[in-house]
Amino acid sequence: MKWVSAFARPLVPPLALLALHEIALRALAAKDVVGQILGAAEAPAPALVALMVAFYLVRLVAIFVAPGWLLLALACGAISWRRRRG
């Protein structure tokens, strides 16, 4: 099964990032954190702003970087798999 592990290992970081994004999305939606900040008449608490900024950074990476990262990870996995088999 070593070749399976060699194929799958590069996929773990981008998939973990996508999972983190999904978990954060659901958690923030349940607490309505982003809605509270966007609709605030006065400056919201810095911790809330930091949370929102962190979420959007993860979202930007998940949407803009993760697709290419997954593609490269698949290519790396395929190369490793071929080396181990060949």
Partner: protein
């Protein structure tokens, strides 16, 4: 023979090319894949958001449900949320008549929410305790009542069995706003004492236009005179954008021309003055759109007027683009069937709005549960109607 360093460099460049190419192509496809369905009025797509908005309206939306940190803005946003709920659901019902029965209860609930004294307490306080609905004979502006009037007009359009007391209120409210519009210097009714927001006046004008549509009793001369005055006093000749505030007695601008107000005026005027709405929308399309990698936004401050920060009207302003202007801007793009602009704005709404499942097939936006959902429903189902003034 190739050196290992050359191989490493070659692989790095290839990896970078893959990352850049996917970043340029995949996000614009992923974030925009529902744009066509919204543009074409696909019922299943609209229902997913409409059901979320309707469910919230049925629970009742009051100022105490908003948490802006300001009692005044809680009141304003609750009023806007209820109005946009009625307009969005009503637009779906006009496009898909069998949906009337599905959404009428929520539209009635939203109207009921707008008609409580608490819902307009922000205006009552601003006018020294004078309740705008209880004193329709007053000469005071109270033009925020246009939001209620426009929603009443939509309900009347959709609901042939509208409660007679609401029909009577719709007539009296429209008469009062039309009378104030006719007698106001520069055709600018005050929102609060000494201050006029042209977007609020546009809501009243849209309401008068929609009243004409549903009753057949037009006020063409009044609206034509108003349109001329509006172009003269409220539209910046340099950018074609609408000033955010205007001094009601002199007709002089007291605020900068801004994207959020302009895009909202476009939507409201689609119910009353199509030509003016299209002219303003053309100004937005011409000088107000910023785009990058297929994602677009509406500039809060058009380039000619310089840049400034965001406020409660615009929401956050990032790279000159505001949340409110971009959300309201979807209406003009849909009304004019400007597919490229609609898709670009939709992608941004998807990226930063972050749609989430609300269970049972319903969907909403992380960035705007309540108010944001209602606004996006109204703007993404907006359509230009023939003038019936």
């Amino acid at each position: 023979m190739r050196s290992p360093r050359f191989d490493t460099l070659r692989r790095s460049l290839l990896a970078l090319a893959v990352l850049v190419a996917t970043a340029a192509l995949v996000p614009r496809w992923w974030c925009g894949r529902d744009a066509g369905a919204w543009l074409e009025g696909d019922l299943e797509t609209e229902r997913a958001l409409a059901d979320t908005v309707a469910a919230r309206a049925l629970l009742g939306v009051q100022p105490s449900d908003l948490h802006t940190g300001s009692e005044h803005f809680d009141g304003e946003w609750a009023l806007v949320q209820n109005q946009m709920t009625v307009l969005g659901l009503g637009q779906i019902a006009t496009e898909h008549p069998p949906e009337r029965a599905r959404y009428l209860p929520a539209m009635r609930a939203a109207i009921a929410g707008m008609l409580t004294p608490e819902a307009r307490a922000f205006g009552t306080r601003a006018w020294g305790g004078e309740d705008g609905i209880e004193h329709l004979e007053s000469e005071h502006g109270h033009v925020y009542l246009g939001y209620i009037d426009l929603a009443l007009g939509m309900l009347r359009w959709i609901d042939p069995a509208m409660d007679p007391s609401l029909v009577a209120l719709h007539d009296r409210l429209t008469d009062a706003l039309a009378r104030r519009l006719a007698s106001a210097p520069h055709a600018l009714i005050e929102t609060f004492p000494g201050v006029t927001f042209p977007a609020d006046v546009a809501s009243a004008v849209g309401a008068i236009g929609l009243h004409a549509r549903v009753t057949g009793r037009g006020r063409r001369a009044l609206l034509e005179a108003w349109g001329r005055a509006f172009r003269r006093c409220c539209v910046d000749p340099g950018t074609g954008f609408v000033y955010q505030t205007v001094e009601p007695r002199t007709g002089e601008p007291s605020g900068a021309p801004r994207g959020s107000g302009t895009a909202l005026v476009v939507y409201f005027l689609s119910f009353a003055d199509r030509a003016l709405a299209l002219d303003l929308d053309a100004a937005v399309a011409r000088g107000g759109i910023a785009s990058f990698l297929g994602f677009g936004g509406v500039r809060e401050y058009p380039a000619a007027a310089g840049a400034a920060g965001g406020d409660i009207d615009s929401g956050p302003v990032v790279f000159g683009v505001s949340v409110a202007a971009s959300g309201f801007g979807l209406a003009g793009a849909r009304m004019t069937r400007d597919e490229a602009r609609f898709r670009a704005l939709f992608r941004t709404a998807y990226l930063f709005g972050a749609p989430v499942s609300r269970g049972g097939g319903a969907r909403g936006f992380l960035a705007g549960p309540g108010l944001g959902d209602a606004i996006l429903l109204a703007t993404m189902t907006a359509k230009a109607t023939e003038d019936a003034r």
